[in-house]
Symmetry: C2
Subunit: 228 residues, 2 copies
DNA sequence: TATAAATGTTAGACTTACCTAACAAATTTT
DNA sequence: AAAATTTGTTAGGTAAGTCTAACATTTATA
């Protein structure tokens, strides 16, 4: 069984390599920075994780997850995101408050707990930040995060999160009739001033590019085409 | 801020002294046994907690909580019991499974989380084991745990928990129309065979003393009289 | 009340996870 | 390709929480 600290290193490695862009390996300093520890500390842990066969690592080389390490990392990510969803949906936490508490909750050891929580939340696909939640088998649909700004004209998409967590923005979002899971149709893009016309609940309104790039959406049509 | 380990020692001390009977102090070996560590280990921690002014302790003497220590202990107990209630009521854990997971959850540090959880559960007064849940101010109504067997004839009480957690017993409880929060009226006690006649949902039935002593109840009438 | 038993303490050691300071290797820049 | 910079490693140290083994004190008992 991996300790909380070990879990954090595996999660960091997962986020640096698999989730962020297409990098396959991570350097010691980078891992240390991600976790807020000194490189010397990370170095100790990398050697330990290698011994446990959870990562691949060679002196002066880059690190990457083994199959076993990836499995643990994904479980931690799953727990983190399910807890965030719980805090947001059931306990009415705001977008920006969920992360910190989920950092603690993600280390609770109980397979039963997390699977029951998943069922209680009705098997959500995304957390409040728009990140994909791995399923109980550890399968992670890598849906590329897309903002409203990048969505194609004519497509219908679903809001799954926000980037900006400021109260001002969230109130604005609310005022526009938007919320998590709200369906949005892209009507048109004005070439003149770049404003985006969207249809929400049969009402058409215009939003700025700055607004649009802070709304994270999922598009069934696009995903099907990309075969993810 | 107290570490998880420190919290566990304070909680143990609380349970040995304040909650269990009317003992006011606890010995080092007793505390060690409660926590599953060696006396030498507990001894180190007692010295540390004394330094932090969380307990009263003198060499070769008994230990007890200071006001500050008691406050922390009660917060941990509150968290433990709220989580147990959540697991039982919302996630459909069984009575005997909740404790182990709650042992982990009780150390999550977030005042906001626990107060929101309390509200979400609608401010429960008892956990699934029938133990009182301290409120957000740290006030703990010490309601003496009472079994159905001890309830007075003619009184109406409410089932708040069970002692026996076996599947056989729980099925029996269910079959009798009993459940958490179910109102029970004590109709009579047969002197001949000690069977207890109870009324549940307008239906009268008889239960054995052995059955009755495994049902934990709360009685508004009795509590008012005792002024707790 | 003297001795045996139970209870409590101290000293020294181990593990985990962190640090600083010094050094080594790899990569970039000139 | 040599020098400078960045990146990574090692050695030695600290604090928390645990242990064992030896010792001290208190309490119970014969």
């Amino acid at each position: 069984m991996a300790s909380n600290t070990e879990e954090n290193y595996l999660k960091a490695l997962f986020q640096i390599t698999i989730e962020s862009g297409n990098k396959q390996e991570a350097g010691t300093n980078e891992i240390a920075a991600q976790l807020g520890v000194k490189p010397a500390t990370a170095n100790d842990m990398l050697k330990k994780l290698k011994l446990k066969k959870l990562i691949q690592y060679e002196k002066y080389g880059k690190s990457s997850l083994t199959k076993a390490g990836k499995k643990i990392a994904i479980e931690v990510v799953r727990k983190h995101r399910l807890w965030e969803t719980f805090l947001f949906e059931k306990l009415a936490f705001s977008w920006d408050e969920v992360h910190e508490v989920a950092e603690q909750l993600e280390h609770i050891q109980s397979k039963k707990l997390i699977d029951k929580l998943d069922a209680y939340l009705q098997y959500p696909a995304f957390d409040p930040h728009g990140d994909t939640i791995p399923n109980a088998k550890g399968e992670l649909t890598i849906t590329l995060k897309k903002t409203l700004l990048e969505e194609e004209i004519g497509h219908q998409c679903k809001m799954i999160g926000v980037k900006d967590n400021s109260a001002a923005f969230l109130q604005y979002v609310n005022k526009m009739g938007l919320a998590i899971n709200q369906t949005i149709k892209i009507v048109a893009r004005q070439a003149f001033d770049d404003l985006l016309e969207i249809e929400v609940n049969k009402k058409v309104s215009s939003v700025s590019p700055k607004f649009a790039e802070n709304i994270i959406v999922e598009c069934a049509t696009c995903n099907k085409r990309n075969n993810v």
